[in-house]
Symmetry: C2
DNA sequence: TCTGTCGGACTGTCGGACAAACCCGGCAGC
DNA sequence: GCTGCCGGGTTTGTCCGACAGTCCGACAGA
């Protein structure tokens, strides 16, 4: 037998042809952001297929965040953002049963970087939101409420302050799994809450005075603490961060 | 007027109900990996909706990589992998016109980490594939061929050798954009190819002798060189890595 | 000017239909 | 007994036609 590469001999289904064609039009810029598409009937006419087929193709792009419906009506082009991608990636990691250690290792690289860049580049509004988050976290601790959501938001805000979209996108799915996992098991460690908020405070302060080094080291310290807390709770670093946030 | 919170009153379309329900079944483990789903007709019967509606729901999950078709026939549950997620993320970054600097900053954090972890944990097979990649790259240089694909693969292999799936997933979309962008402009720098392959060689050697520190520093050096080359080519670090790989 | 009504356009959903591909069991041929 | 061909049932991909609900703009009335 020869080593001839045998192509998968399947005439791609029409609905995939539709979605791929539309995808190319969007990626090539011929369909611009926010622009409205023709109606399904007209698309069907132009593609020369049935409306049902067009709909199936549209569903795929919709699921990928390249298309959106505006209020049950017209279909418009949109770019997939964090809101679309991060949950997908988190889901994939959940299904793969990624371990705490794997998440933590990446976080230890990305979070300090984020804090450092945030210190260099942050804009006023993000700093305000970070400070607001800090206050809410303190209030939550005082009231004994869970601060899972606030902690997760804190790290997202730091990333947002870097203005680095690649970093934001790469970090978000990690945060979505790691922080809920830690905090969900956290209540067993009474003083862990105050340690956490103290670390957050230092990071925000360092970012506020544009001190990259301090922001980096405090964040690294914070992430290291996370692992210490995990081990103190007698949890296996190579175990799965179960019960993590499955966003709807 | 009162401040009563008025919810957006949109009864979710049935096709979304279908996809969300199936998604929950998959995520909760009631539908296991590789398991086959009932036929579309039967699903329609159980959900109490029309087959067309079921199909639209299925298309969404298919686009997210949670379902796959096995040879035109039965539909089976699958977990989305790198092959599904990385292109989506890359597309998103392309649409956002992420700059070279943004990608590079993240790469400078992730790639050395990957190299270091690979040195600690690599298994024999991956090292062999790295060495094969190295040879092919040398051959490509000697023949004057482009080594975009080989360079991209090199970094993917290093990440794979870490056995850290979170890292693999977070890094891949960056690599998919960054390396093609550099190399596509690289030919202007005649000696850059040999510098690149030399760096690769050092990284592979360090991984081979399980020297984490050396692997980390050599990779950091390599990524730094990338930026130097970019600037030598008189390209704006805050420009877009255009002409990058759009994986069809 | 504001309000109520009307017609057109579009989406979401439905039912039915058919060709092609595939799976499976049976049956002849060696 | 094994191989290879054949026919039927199942399932997907695609199409057609239809209808209710909703949205939008136009238009008449107060």
């Amino acid at each position: 037998m020869t080593d001839v590469r045998i192509e998968r001999l399947t005439p791609a289904p029409a609905y995939q042809a539709v979605s791929r064609t539309l995808e190319r039009l969007i990626m090539s810029g011929q369909l611009k952001q926010g622009e409205a598409l023709p109606s399904e009937t007209e698309l069907a006419g132009r593609f020369g297929v049935n409306r049902s087929t067009v709909r199936e193709g549209i569903r795929q792009l919709e699921a990928q965040g390249l298309l959106r419906r505006d209020g049950r009506k017209r279909l418009l082009v949109s770019r997939p953002g964090q809101a679309e991608l991060a949950p997908s990636a988190s889901r994939a990691m959940l299904l793969e049963q990624v371990t705490f250690r794997e998440l933590w290792e990446v976080a230890l690289a990305l979070e300090p970087l984020a804090a450092g860049l945030a210190a260099e580049r942050h804009q006023h509004e993000l700093l305000q939101r970070l400070e607001a988050n800090l206050e809410e976290t303190e209030a939550a601790i005082a009231a004994g409420r869970s601060m899972v959501a606030l902690d997760t938001e804190f790290h997202s805000l730091v990333a947002a302050a870097t203005l680095n979209r690649a970093l934001i996108l790469a970090r978000e799915p990690i945060g979505l799994l790691l922080y809920p996992a830690c905090q969900a098991i956290g209540p067993q460690l009474p003083q862990s809450g105050s340690g956490l908020v103290e670390a957050h405070r230092q990071v925000v302060a360092a970012i506020g005075r544009r001190d990259r080094t301090a922001a980096t080291t405090w964040m690294a310290e914070h992430i290291t603490d996370l692992r210490r807390a995990w081990e103190l709770a007698r949890l296996d670093p190579d175990g799965s961060p179960t019960a993590a946030g499955q966003p709807a």
